[in-house]
């Protein structure tokens, strides 16, 4: 899932300083699951903003809405009737959601309530970790199911650097060295020999370096 984290209330409040009525839009997909933008967080944020503005003597009116996913136009369309009289739309979706709202409601000021962090998963309740670098050219079959692109601080492709100590990365003792993990896993699978194959430089054009990306499935198009 996409993992996001809410911005500080004060930051969000500053972004809507001039607004008198705002629409807060939550998302029931990834950001609900990572406890950042579901219905609960949306309602709590709305209350917090109202309280803050009331204390400052400039009461704020809020409307809250939930959509199943902010990254599909049909769901966004369900908001059409709610945006008319609001000054600002606050999206509790990921960066994708904010842009979908901004595209559909072209004449409205749309702002993000979340910082979109990474593609990852939950470790335990209340903790999430990054797992995928979205590089567009997966090599996990070569590295024992452990991604060196995102989990190695240097995205190395052919083993660890000299900063790997006792299984930890030199940037922080709490960060495991991805290549250490890869080595251990490949060893337990009896596939250490695979690590001897030299990886040529990666084709980063399939990643962000090639500019904005697009996936097209012509086979599913209906004319």
């Amino acid at each position: 899932m996409i993992v996001a984290e809410q911005k500080p209330i004060k930051t969000i409040a500053d972004l809507i300083e001039d607004s008198n009525k705002v629409l807060l839009v939550g998302c029931s997909a990834c950001v609900a699951v990572c406890l950042a933008g579901g219905e609960k967080e949306t309602e709590v944020l709305a209350s917090a903003l109202r309280i803050k503005r009331k204390q400052e003597g400039k009461p704020l009116e809020t409307v809250t809405k939930m959509v199943t996913r902010q990254c599909d136009p049909e769901y966004i369309a369900t908001l059409d009737d709610s945006v008319e009289d609001v000054d600002t739309i606050i999206s509790l979706g990921c960066g994708v959601g904010v842009q979908y709202l901004a595209e559909r409601f072209y004449n409205k000021w749309v702002i993000p309530a979340l910082d979109t962090k990474f593609a990852g998963g939950s470790i335990e309740h209340g903790q999430w970790e990054e797992r995928c670098g979205l590089c567009g050219d997966c090599i996990l079959h070569r590295t024992g199911g452990i991604c060196p692109i995102i989990r190695c601080s240097k995205s190395l492709l052919n083993g660890p650097c000299g900063g790997s100590q006792d299984g930890k990365c030199e940037i922080n003792k709490d960060v495991p060295c991805a290549w250490h993990l890869i080595y251990e896993r490949m060893k337990s699978l009896g596939k250490l020999d695979k690590l001897l194959e030299i990886q040529p430089p990666k084709d980063w054009s399939r990643s962000r370096d090639g500019g904005p990306r697009k996936v097209t499935r012509e086979d599913v198009f209906i004319d």
Partner: protein
């Protein structure tokens, strides 16, 4: 045994043991008469401040049980009552009771900290009330004795200065000082001054040869530590606390950690010593001077502001007299003796004992024994189960859906408790003016029987469909009032309770007008809520009257056999090829009783009982379902349907890495040595020097627990070895001798008979060396401070008891809670929701229908395992005896369309109630306890706790602050 059995049980004593036994019996279909010689129930536990090792308030643990007790109908109880005569035999006793006039008001027995209301109190058989005296007879099938114990009279040891110096108090008096403390200081008796330096003296009246109290009282080490930590926590100023002791006996589950934390984190001083005298200082300060000898024999003097004597337990005179009257066997110290391998059976069939009268013990063990005694009675009386109780019938429930709310508000004066502060007529008047309120009145005591009749009458007369009672704490009386409205045909959940006693008259007693205003506001809120609540259904589930018992050791077999004799089916799954478990390797127990013949008899009984099925060489691979309806798949693909689960998978002995174990063949573990003793092996028989080393792998940084039984076992083996070869020198190297309870007798005997005990420090452990052939053990003599070397022929290692090997694997199936060490953690939920605390459900898990017994829960002796296995059976019988069970109405429900299947609820629920099924959460009603955690945490607000929705609460808040808006 009588042919005409009676399905009722007499429980003697209204302390925690009596209450627990009663609750189990009543839930399992038996009628109970409970007699208590004092005027209130609650016993010793109600005198305590906090309970170790969880530090929950003792009263807050006890109170829910008292409430449950107050709400049951198939019981009669008599305070100020004693047994005068018992005739008959097991199954059919005729017991004469004699009741003395009561001076206290039994309706409200005020235990000065927490008043405990007792609805239905004191109806006796002849229809007289409790205030009158008289003799009467009850007819019962079994008797459970739980008269509790008393503390030792400290003034019998003159040199301790009790009753002579005002600042020498007993531990139980100190509990009271803690309870009444303002939590900013601890005050001493002589001058009400804050104390800054307190001493505890251990073993006062215990381990005492002079006063013929040889036994150890088991709980004093722990309560002294607890009191010392509390004294520090309850004082704003730094308080110096010292505990003067001989051996620190923190042998129970989580006790060793508690001890270490007190010493290392809280800074409690522990001084191993002998006390010679306590005297007042001469300067008139009323301070006390302790003269003591330390472990090197040096004499010291130290001054303290206050001294607490850790007094031990003894049976009360009346309990001894009761025992003698009943003709049961008492031991040398006048505690009730139990027959071997029964834990709770007295020498007389049909009479059982639980709690301190059977020997000193802590609260969880007392509760376990109480359940075990209930289980034993249920086994005896299974053919007459349910014959003395009547299922209550109710009028059909009125359908009020769609009706406009018609609210009735009843406001309680609680005698003077509320009415003395809050202007109750004004509260009634303001209630009448609120929307939808059609009736309101006050009562002197809303909880009285008469009031219940009036409430029912008013429901009828005014067609009330929502009832509000403004009185005391809902924790105590909610269920009772819900019964009343159900009897009047209303759904139980069309009810709200407002606590205008604790929240108004108690806390604002000096501001009656404001207290009245607050009471009016609280009633207003409640009326607002009542308008929005709905009738709720209690979901029924069928109960499959069968238990799955995992593990075929003594615990598993005892559990299965007890259930089988109660008429339920039990299926034992054992992973090895035969029944018996660890007990196969044990010759005798600590009382020198033959374990093998007992074990063989137990196995025979299990094999021949038609209610028991045994599958060996199999394990559990999958469990589906929930309490009442589990479906378990075994490793051999067999599928078993059952209602409850007993986890009795045992534990195992640590294989040491230390002391040349595995390197020299004369270094053995306790169990290995025991096997050689049983086999009468010549090398053991001919050994001249035998060294037993304690705490091998226990009480270490990576295993911070005491294995509890090894001291007792080494002492027992030392005596056995001495008998085999009287010329042998036997050495026990120890850190603290933890021969708790009556095991102290064996320790005393061993010392007397010349077993040599040498204490070692954890940072200076004994050395075991070899030249390839002979063994040498070197240890420091703690008095001389010099090394002594022993040419050992045999070295026995008291290796730690480790958690079950399959524990973690099995736990992936059950998702229960394990302790840091890997033992099963009973009832882990320690929140403040008013649910179970560890002390009170010591064999239950938070997941309904799953129970634990034996070593899997923690190290323990065979007798303790047997008690736990029977207790588990008793708890299980409370479920299995019902054809169906009902969930609570206040449960969480999922709106599927909003659920993101994020797992938040499933991860956070303490009761394992939510599961993700078909891409959305489902909450199993029978498992849901209505705590609301899932509803609060659900990120998509997909979960609603019925009658506690956000809308209800935001409405209430809006109502309260309407004028402000």
């Amino acid at each position: 045994m009588s042919a005409n059995k009676v399905g009722a049980v007499l429980v003697v004593g209204g302390g925690i043991a009596g209450i627990q036994a009663t609750l189990d019996l009543v839930e399992s279909g038996y009628y109970v008469y409970l007699v208590e010689q004092s005027s209130t129930i609650g016993g010793n536990m109600s005198k305590l401040d906090k309970a170790f090792p969880t530090d929950n308030s003792s009263m807050s643990i006890l109170a829910p049980k008292l409430v449950e007790f107050g709400s049951i109908s198939s019981i009669q109880y008599f305070t100020n009552t004693q047994i005068s005569e018992v005739a008959g035999e097991a199954g059919d006793f005729k017991v004469k009771l004699s009741q003395t006039p009561n001076t206290a008001d039994t309706k409200v027995c005020t235990n000065y900290v927490t008043p405990v209301e007792l609805p239905n109190a004191g109806q006796d058989i002849s229809g007289d009330d409790n205030g009158k005296s008289g003799d009467f007879e009850v007819n019962v099938g079994a008797v459970i004795l739980c008269p509790g114990g008393e503390t030792f009279e400290a003034d019998q040891i003159e040199y301790l200065g009790y009753n002579k110096y005002p600042n020498v108090v007993t531990s139980i008096e100190f509990e009271r000082i803690l309870r009444t403390s303002d939590k900013q200081s601890v005050i001493r008796p002589s001058d009400n001054k804050k104390v800054n330096k307190i001493a505890w003296i251990q073993c006062v009246g215990s381990r005492n040869i002079r006063d013929e109290k040889h036994y150890c009282s088991c709980v004093c080490c722990m309560y002294a530590i607890k009191e010392a930590v509390c004294a520090k926590q309850y004082s704003d100023d730094e308080v110096d606390t010292s505990i003067f002791y001989m051996d620190m006996r923190t042998y129970g589950k989580d006790f060793e950690k508690y001890y270490e934390e007190a010493r290392d984190d809280h800074g409690v001083n522990f001084i191993r010593s002998r006390i010679y005298a306590i005297e007042e200082t001469k300067d008139g300060s009323n301070n006390l001077l302790i003269r003591y000898g330390d472990d090197k024999g040096e004499i010291h003097h130290e001054e303290f502001d206050m001294v607490v004597l850790s007094v031990g337990f003894k049976p009360s005179d009346s309990a001894v007299q009761l025992g003698n009257n009943l003709g049961i066997k008492l031991n040398d110290f006048n505690f009730a003796e139990t027959t071997p391998f029964t834990s709770v059976n007295t020498s007389k069939p049909g009479i059982y004992v639980a709690g301190i009268f059977g020997g000193p013990k802590d609260i969880p063990e007392t509760v376990i024994e109480a359940s075990a005694a209930a289980g034993a009675s249920e086994e005896l009386l299974s053919d007459v189960r349910g014959t003395m109780i009547q299922e209550k019938t109710y009028p059909p429930e009125k359908d009020v859906s769609g009706e406009e709310p018609r609210i009735g508000v009843f406001v309680c004066n609680c005698g003077n408790n509320i009415g003395g502060v809050v202007n109750v007529p004004k509260v009634v008047e303001s209630a009448k003016a609120l929307p939808y309120v059609v009736y309101s009145q006050e009562f002197l005591y809303t909880c009285s029987q008469d009031s219940q009749e009036i409430i029912k009458q008013k429901i009828e007369e005014h067609s009330l469909n929502r009832i509000i009672i403004a009185s005391c704490s809902p924790r105590k009386l909610k269920y009772y009032f819900q019964e009343t409205i159900r009897e009047a045909g209303l759904n139980r959940y069309l009810f709200e309770m407002v606590n205008i006693r604790d929240q108004c008259s108690f806390v604002h007693m000096n501001e009656p007008e404001k207290a009245t205003e607050k009471a009016k506001d609280l009633v207003k809120l409640s009326v607002n809520k009542a308008g929005n609540i709905e009738s709720l259904n209690e979901a029924p589930v069928n109960i499959n009257p069968k238990a799955l018992v995992i593990g075929g050791g003594v615990s598993g077999m005892t559990n299965a056999l007890n259930l089988a004799k109660q008429g339920y089916q039990a299926h034992i799954v054992e992973k090895s090829d035969r029944l018996g478990g660890n007990a196969r390797r044990i010759s005798t127990d600590f009382n020198n009783q033959d374990v093998q013949s007992y074990l063989n008899q137990l196995v025979d009984e299990v094999n021949s009982n038609t209610n028991i099925q045994v599958t060996t060489q199999a394990s559990v691979s999958k469990v589906d379902g929930y309490v009442g309806n589990f479906v378990t798949t075994l490793s051999n693909n067999e599928k078993i349907e059952h209602g409850v689960i007993t986890i009795a998978i045992g534990g195992h002995e640590y294989k040491p890495n230390e002391y040349l174990y595995n390197e020299h063949n004369a270094v053995l573990t306790q169990l290995e040595l025991e096997e050689e003793i049983t086999a009468n092996n010549t090398r053991v028989k001919n050994a001249k020097n035998i060294v037993l080393i304690q705490c091998v792998g226990s009480r270490e940084p990576d295993r911070r627990y005491c294995s509890r039984i090894c001291c007792n076992k080494s002492v027992k083996m030392a005596l056995q070895l001495q008998e085999m070869n009287p010329d042998a020198n036997i050495y026990i190297l120890y850190r603290d001798m933890r021969t708790y309870g009556f095991n102290e007798e064996n320790y005393r005997k061993a010392r007397k008979q010349g077993v040599i005990f040498i204490r070692y420090e954890v940072d200076n452990k004994p050395q075991v060396q070899t030249d390839g052939k002979d063994l040498k053990v070197t240890a420091v003599d703690h008095i001389l401070g010099e090394n002594i070397t022993i040419d050992a022929d045999i070295v026995g290692l008291a290796a730690a008891i480790l958690p079950p090997e399959d524990g973690i694997k099995l736990n992936q199936i059950f998702n229960l809670s394990l302790s840091d060490e890997g033992f099963y953690r009973e009832c882990p939920f320690r929140g403040s929701w008013g649910f179970s605390h560890k002390e009170m459900r010591p064999v239950d898990f938070a997941s309904e229908g799953i129970f634990v017994a034996g070593l899997a829960q923690g190290p323990k002796s065979i007798d303790e395992s047997i008690a736990q296995a029977k207790a588990t059976a008793s708890r299980e019988a409370t479920i299995l005896n019902k054809n169906s069970a009902k969930s609570s109405g206040i449960i969480a429900v999922v709106q599927r369309e909003k659920c993101a299947a994020c797992y938040t609820c499933a991860r956070l629920c303490p009761f394992n109630a939510p599961r993700i099924i078909n891409y959305a959460a489902e909450i199993e009603p029978i498992l849901c306890q209505g705590c609301g955690i899932c509803a609060a945490e659900c990120p998509n607000k997909a979960i609603i706790l019925q009658n506690y929705s956000d809308v209800i609460f935001t409405n209430m808040v809006d109502e309260l602050y309407r004028e402000v808006h």
